[in-house]
Assembly symmetry: C2
Homo-oligomer: 193 residues x 2
DNA sequence: GTCTATAAGATGATAGAC
DNA sequence: GTCTATCATCTTATAGAC
């Protein structure tokens, strides 16, 4: 499947895995070249610099995630199920417990990230908070959710909880830890104040 | 103040700042040598390897944080104030919004961290959750806090929320974002289910 | 589009003088 | 305890043949 994709895409596939497991600073053109059995120079043909490669990777992931959210909205009309599916999307990113969400990892690399990538990171988080705020607002209107204050504030806290849970769970290589924290975060919206 | 401390300590001071802003992979002996106006070889005299330097840094931070928690307990007898002070400790680690909590950063580097440091990271998180669980349990017994389920589960969710809020806030260079999420997390314990 | 070859610089680390 | 000098290796990146 990956082997029939164009080289430019396969490069991003490998890079995505490397960023999720090692971070921006700890992956190299040599790692990608080895994984694909090509030469480093070939990667430079497709992506002139590491900054450009990472920017392309971030943009692809952001677009794919946005598309998946549209799918979720089409598939699940009710806010509760939408939210549960959203949490599942995050949990899947953890894989066996050794991957971090791509954007969570890039956020941790914010201090050394090329500016174009950094802008993309903040845009991604803004996307997530906006989407969650809409789901939460609708859920409260339907009396499926209960929470205090503005939906965007509740959305920011939920996103932070999910990202932090991934960070801690991955350090422990423990997907169950993420699942437990996530269900508590969702539970506090569906059953309390 | 830093300039009268022994070299071994000053090395860790600089390393701490570098890890908090750049992460494990993105700091080097050369960075520390430049900051202290000494040579790289002098650093190797104090810490034979980068792994050993980072392990020493992690151990120092963990011990210092534990000591600060004892101070908080001595100073504030009531759970609500203890918790507010705890959140403050985290917020201070952000500095101007460009530092991550040392252990949050190390957790994000889990994929490439020397095993000894990684063990230290999970120990630190266990420390935090245990301390928070005790504060939460006592707060619920005194009817200052309200939450469902076991105190350790609530503690895990709170810690995850704080770490995630730091991650997102730092990416945005926005301390206020952390403060807003943190006060919402605390608020959900003091005023709701 | 992929290759070989190469560049200029950084990396963690060591030997041995002072 | 700090220095100079050096090491092998890795990094991103480029030139030019095929």
């Amino acid at each position: 499947m990956a082997s029939i994709a164009p080289t430019a895409d396969r490069i991003l596939d490998i890079a995505e895995d490397l960023v999720q497991t090692r971070g921006y600073e700890a992956f190299s053109y040599a790692d990608i070249a080895d994984a694909l059995s090509i030469r480093k120079a070939s990667i430079h043909y497709h992506y002139a610099s590491k900054a450009e490669l990472t920017r392309a990777l971030a943009a692809r992931y952001r677009a794919a995630f946005a598309a998946r959210l549209l799918q979720v909205e089409a598939e699940f009309p009710d806010p509760t199920r939408r939210l549960m599916r959203y949490v599942r999307l995050f949990q899947d990113a953890l894989r066996e417990g050794d991957h971090m969400c791509l954007y969570g990892m890039l956020a941790s690399d914010a201090g050394t990230l090329p500016e174009a990538v950094r802008t993309e990171v903040n845009g991604f988080f803004a996307d997530q908070e906006a989407w969650l705020a809409r789901v939460l607002a609708e859920g409260r209107a339907r009396e499926e959710f209960r929470f205090d204050g503005r939906p965007d504030a509740a959305a920011a806290a939920l996103l932070a909880g999910l990202e932090g849970a991934m960070l801690v769970a991955r350090s422990r290589r423990d997907v169950a830890h993420f699942a437990a924290v996530a269900s508590r975060l969702v539970g506090s919206l569906t059953s309390g104040g």
